[in-house]
């Protein structure tokens, strides 16, 4: 634990000195916030709160991208090799990635909430305890996904390609950018298998004060299981050496990390009310009947 904390402090300092991190971690989510509020907010408090839920999701999910790239870069440059000589394990190194990322996303999250509250005249704080719980677990989960990507890719180029694919899926098939209720029914059902959906719908509900404890509990549990499974897989697949290539079949471990979400997705598709709640929530904020977009329940 002592090693993890020492590494975490250094990782935080390194990130703060990195202009790319400042751009993607702080500036870009704020740009998204202004853009989304301008397009969808329409000066209405509840709409801004809903949009803020989406932006918080994008901010938290951003950890996925940054950590994978950083870890692969450290490995390619031989930096991990030097750490390997010291009595520090892969677990401490990976945990420091997750922890430093968590500490670093809290200020942007707070800034985004304050901007909406003070500059865009959002009249609600949402349910900040729920927001805090989802941001905490979600940051760990998406960081761990990033660590898995870093573990199963051999080069920076490969990492970027896989990141792009997964990131696009997270953004477009979760309700974080295009509202879930506006997507075709079969896509809505598919989205229930994505971890990003639990994050986005949870935060949208928490910000618009529509969330009930049991729903948030399910979201947090789904994300927490994802966190532990992903972290353990990335620890098992961790490679210190640039020339240590991962066999192709190890990439299947990414699929293993998705198993908890396949289970939750299956449950939600068969027994859950999430899509109905999402549709109702979207309808109550933006008006109009969205039932036509909701998939028929079997």
């Amino acid at each position: 634990m002592r090693h993890t904390w020492a590494l975490t402090k250094i990782r935080i300092l390194l990130s703060l000195r990195n202009k790319t991190f400042m751009f993607f971690g702080v500036v870009m989510p704020l740009a998204f916030l202004f853009f989304f509020v301008f397009i969808f907010g329409n000066g209405k408090s509840d709409r801004i709160a809903y949009v803020l839920g989406s932006i918080l999701t994008i901010t938290v999910m951003g950890s996925f991208w940054g950590l994978s790239v950083q870890l692969v870069m450290f490995r390619e440059q031989g930096i991990l090799r030097r750490f390997r000589l010291a009595p520090v394990g892969a677990g401490a190194l990976l945990a420091s990635s997750v922890l430093s990322n968590y500490v670093l996303i809290l200020p942007p999250i707070a800034i985004e909430i304050l901007i909406c509250r003070l500059a865009f005249h959002m009249t609600t704080w949402g349910n900040l305890w729920y927001v805090y719980a989802l941001v905490t677990v979600g940051a760990g989960t998406f960081s761990s996904f990033g660590l898995i990507v870093a573990s199963v890719t051999n080069t920076m180029q490969e990492t970027q390609v896989i990141n792009n694919l997964i990131w696009s899926g997270f953004l477009l098939l979760s309700g974080a950018t295009v509202p879930l209720a506006r997507l075709p029914g079969w896509i809505q059902r598919a989205c229930l298998f994505s971890p990003a959906t639990y994050m986005a719908t949870g935060l949208q509900d928490a910000m618009t004060r529509r969330a009930i404890p049991s729903e948030i509990f399910v979201d947090v549990i789904a994300l927490a299981i994802g966190l532990f499974v992903s972290f353990e897989i990335s620890r098992q697949l961790f490679r210190w050496e640039p020339e240590a290539k991962v066999p192709s079949r190890a990439k299947l471990w990414v699929a293993v990390a998705m198993i908890p979400f396949l289970v939750f997705g299956f449950y939600e598709n068969v027994h859950g009310n999430r899509l109905k709640d999402v549709r109702q929530g979207f309808g109550s904020v933006f008006g109009g009947d969205d039932s036509s977009q909701a998939p028929a329940r079997n």
């Binding site: 002592r2 090693h3 250094i10 000589l85 010291a86 009595p87």
Partner: protein, 306 residues
Amino acid sequence: MSEPVIRVEDLYKSYGTVEALRGVSFEVHAGEVFGLLGPNGAGKTSTIEILEGLRTQDRGKVSVAGLDPQTAGAGFKQEVGAVLQSTALPDKLRVAEALSLFAHFYRRRNDTEALLKRFQLDEKRNAFYNQLSGGQKQRLALAMALVNDPTVLFLDEPTAGLDPQVRREIYDIIEELKSDKKTILLTTHYIEEAEKLCDRVAIVDRGKIIAEGTPRDLKQRSGNTTRIEVRLSRPLQPGVLKSLDGVADAREFDGTYVLHSSRPPQTIVSLVKQLEADGSELQSLEMFSPSLEDVFIELTGRRLRE
């Protein structure tokens, strides 16, 4: 003699079809500086990285401070310090932060402030890693290798790629460590480095140790001859050169004739006469005291830097 601190027995390592190590064995005793000298690709780095626990051997046994690098885990890492052939740290990590971070990982620690001063990094304590010169980076790597006051120090080509002045600075540091009675295993392809720093040297070529001993013993073993290197205006048969006065051996490497002579003045007179007779001229002539390079040439028929 004391129990060896480093023991290597019949070490084998292959990368695909390339056999990097073919039965390497040696021992290093406490307080000794032992050098692995050889050209690039000889197997030096594979050997040292197996000893550091970074690679696994295909066959053979190694122990460092009585521990197996592969199985002893953190306990082994507490006992060793290492400078990799190429050390890399995050660009935006400050010098003092790097030392302090690595010191955190060990139970036994040297004072990092004292290390900064000892390695003349005090003024650079707040510099980012990417702002350091090659020599400063290498001094930092050495300081980091000493943060845990290690029992054994591994230095993999510690001066490779550095300019001569910086190389001499690093030599001074290693000399200091030697006077501290640290057990050091270093690899190098610089003759001067091995001769100056090592108590004993193993000459490695193509995955095997081809000679081992003190630099002085090795040079004596090769006949203690003076090396004369000449360049000529017209090619000559090495056979002709071998017949010159005092010449024990003559070989040609890329247009340079390398003669080993037990009586250099007579050899040079005889050479000049031979050139006059052949209508050839001397373009350059250099003389070198007997060195480990000569031992390598004698044993392999090649130069160390080929």
